[in-house]
Symmetry: C3
Subunit: 403 residues, 3 copies
Amino acid sequence: MKNSIKNVLLAAALMFCVCGTVSAAETAGSTLAALSDVQKYERAIHIMAMLLVGFGFLMVFVKKYGRSALTATYLLVSVSIPLYFLKESFGGIGSSGGVIDNMILAEFAAASLLICAGAVLGRLKMGQYMLLGILFVPFYALNEWIVLNGGLGLISGKVVDTGGSIVIHAFGAIFGLGVAASMTTLTEYEAPIECDDTSDRYSLLGSMVLWVFWPSFCAALVAPADVPRTAVNVILALCGSTIATYFASVRLRGKIAAADIANATLAGGVAIGSTCDLAVPGVAFAIGILAGVVSTFGFAIIQSRLTNLTRKVDTCGVLYLHGLPGLLGGIAALFVVSGINFGAQLTGILITIMLAAGSGLISGKVISALGRRVEPYLDDEEFDGDACAPEEDQPLIAATEPV
Amino acid sequence: MKNSIKNVLLAAALMFCVCGTVSAAETAGSTLAALSDVQKYERAIHIMAMLLVGFGFLMVFVKKYGRSALTATYLLVSVSIPLYFLKESFGGIGSSGGVIDNMILAEFAAASLLICAGAVLGRLKMGQYMLLGILFVPFYALNEWIVLNGGLGLISGKVVDTGGSIVIHAFGAIFGLGVAASMTTLTEYEAPIECDDTSDRYSLLGSMVLWVFWPSFCAALVAPADVPRTAVNVILALCGSTIATYFASVRLRGKIAAADIANATLAGGVAIGSTCDLAVPGVAFAIGILAGVVSTFGFAIIQSRLTNLTRKVDTCGVLYLHGLPGLLGGIAALFVVSGINFGAQLTGILITIMLAAGSGLISGKVISALGRRVEPYLDDEEFDGDACAPEEDQPLIAATEPV
Amino acid sequence: MKNSIKNVLLAAALMFCVCGTVSAAETAGSTLAALSDVQKYERAIHIMAMLLVGFGFLMVFVKKYGRSALTATYLLVSVSIPLYFLKESFGGIGSSGGVIDNMILAEFAAASLLICAGAVLGRLKMGQYMLLGILFVPFYALNEWIVLNGGLGLISGKVVDTGGSIVIHAFGAIFGLGVAASMTTLTEYEAPIECDDTSDRYSLLGSMVLWVFWPSFCAALVAPADVPRTAVNVILALCGSTIATYFASVRLRGKIAAADIANATLAGGVAIGSTCDLAVPGVAFAIGILAGVVSTFGFAIIQSRLTNLTRKVDTCGVLYLHGLPGLLGGIAALFVVSGINFGAQLTGILITIMLAAGSGLISGKVISALGRRVEPYLDDEEFDGDACAPEEDQPLIAATEPV
């Protein structure tokens, strides 16, 4: 009898122990999930810094276009993020994880849109950038759904593209080229896009902000245990492209071009995207070097020839920073990732190229139809230059800081 | 007997199990708490970026006042944070959580002080900014204690103000207007505050840094599980005010003013503060739009009329970026939050307005008594222009960019 | 018999309970470790922002040297980080924790190298900076191994230097002085290093970015539970040096020098490094004040005299921002940390000074042997000024750096 009582007590204690453990584990589990989500949030903030400060200031190099470039950046981000969110809230295609995952996916869409806008920078009015955003996001989401989530059943297998070399960078760049092809007038082609020399350092600021936070872009949605390795790969790829850009710029141009340093240094980050969580450090470094060379070659050699050949202008050279290195990254995965599905990967790349080009051309036509311009855009067309400088008609200030 | 032995062994094993579980749970619990505190620390760093780089560069638009604005920002932050800490270390009123909570509360005080300083920017010497900080912090802490912590028993109920629309933004702005009202001389009023055109892009840099890190400001002290939702609300509110600012600026001025883009875009962040963790995304977006319209209307229409009417100058227009949107946010909570205590919320707003205005007026008198100026401040009054540029006697460059 | 069955069931349940608990604890433990590593990753990103944006823009003050300074920063970081990594991957000396620990240690090496490069800024070609990096990293790693990890058995005891006052700041500064001493020609000495007036605000941007993220630098490798306390100490030390710099600059120069504000404000961060996780807040604030005074005194009084005396140029004044405050921090530990090993601490400081000076002198000779220059470096020596501005043949200052 005493035994029975003891056993009952023991059982009770055991129940308490088990229940307590389970409930404590549940609490701990949900706390761990919450902490992990907050870490994703941190990376989401890093990406936001890339979108506004990074892309924004990288584009502040066109003469008399500083305020416009930054305002356009603000508007493109503010249009695309709620729009992508709206899609998710209708339980839309591609919807997946928690609210912070959706925010990061929306930021990816905004990044791709900013890349696209770089191709036509300096040739749209503010309202047209917003229209571009409204046209871009559905096509971007469609491609993302087809390539990454098996939409329409076009791709049977996994496409490797963790950091978006294909669906973010290449898609945005090619879409932008499509828009530029539909829009560029001969007058625009003949009016060279002049750099604002005072803006070199602003561009380098934007470039550095992108460089610094790039690991968070690539690792945004990877599991906590994979974040450090992914970050190291991205940083090594960026180091590789930075060193390669210096040597390639000197070799191909004779002198260093600040524009190469501001842009092609980032090509390693673009190209490592697809395999950022799968490559080993040495390979990541090598991919970065290759991407830096390809990108610098694009800026130094291809850009002027292609512009003359096609008579179309790619203002920021997005083909050379995002297009070619993005495709390079997607193809590199074929050699780097063991057990990769060749067919799926190649189909994914091909669909992205075709869908981006097609929808870009269409979008360019739509924007042109609603107000095509022949003269290049200047800040004072839309911006109020007199608001805060009453005596601005003195020559020199106007000369040095046109905007 | 064997049973007894078995039972003893079982009991021992059970004890071990229970104790082990408890101690493991304790360890895990304290580790979780530590990780959660480190995440607060991350947000504290984001806020620091807003204070120095954000507020600092947003204020770099007054002609010949770049170095002063940045130095003043440095000094205001460095005076207010240790001062608020000192209060906490005396077990002062309002003292609450761990050391990182106190740091974030100190940063909130510094943010409110920087807002306040924006109203009198360009009219104080460096030492006077420090005096302003010393006068401001006790009044700020008093209002925080009364409104949020039930100090003096004036408010019976909870005031909803997670991100500080009322106690940080509105308080700082109204305090600053009080100081400006006590200090502005007729000479100052008649000397227009000239923008430095080269500084547009610096202002936009400051603006973007504030935009990017604003979610961390609002979510600084919320529980981990609520951070993602809060962040999404803040980002959507900022997107709303950014789009609204563009349309309102074009509508009200005919052209876009870069100053509107740099400032009113942030009004959504100010206004969503009170309800950032409680609103649903759609409402957050709507509050942002409304705040953008109100703020742009303030800058475009009210500012010049009020300045002429009162003959008092609000240099940065803090009334229109922080004052009105802050009050809007506090009032919006009445409609957005179910079960809100109307009386407490309205009393909190009213006390904040009165305490800020009164203490601002007094502080302005004190600062004036210790050295009122009649001429506007120029950088070279206090800054050493010759330290590093021996051949600086060329007229215009020296004039616009003295250093 | 029934008892036996009960006991068996109880035992089984208990086993299940224990095993379940253990495996859940194991999972939770590895997740906790992963989350903790991601938090280190966050701090690694903050440090990267300091390296590129912080150090990079802080150095943008030499006339006609903006693009070079930023490009050099890019190259120095991109050479030193993979190089330090390579060492680790050979299971090299000093190898310790996970991949993210190694990345942070590599960033520390890059920071020390950037400090070193500040001493000879404006006098190396891009390729020479890369050579400097290749020479620097092995010596840096050797000193780190001897002083912190007991290498060669030279130091018997623990050297207190969590945030690297000694092994990062003092080592980098003294190494740089050694290089400068080997390299500076009389022509260079006689050609004053001219500030670029438009760059004040860029320098202050770099300064503020360093200030903001400094807590993450010092707390990069401390345990989660110690991060908040460490961060508070660093912030208070920076507040102390900022206030002290203002008063010292006014007192010693009569007027405020923007260069003091951009540099000496950071001395508190340098000096608190050694004791950042051990000091109490009041002491941290005091160390900051002292460091600000010492650093400002260095810039205002010592710099010009020492330059005349030695006829050697320390371009950025790294002796006064990193050298003296770093040594101050290492020595302060003797008075602040209870139970510190006096002999080890002093020996560590002494070895660092000697090793840095010696290896710096040697490295300077090597670089000189491979191409010593007599004329100061200008951007257009290596940079392509015409790449993007067709009409750039207007007078040089207007063209390259108008503002």
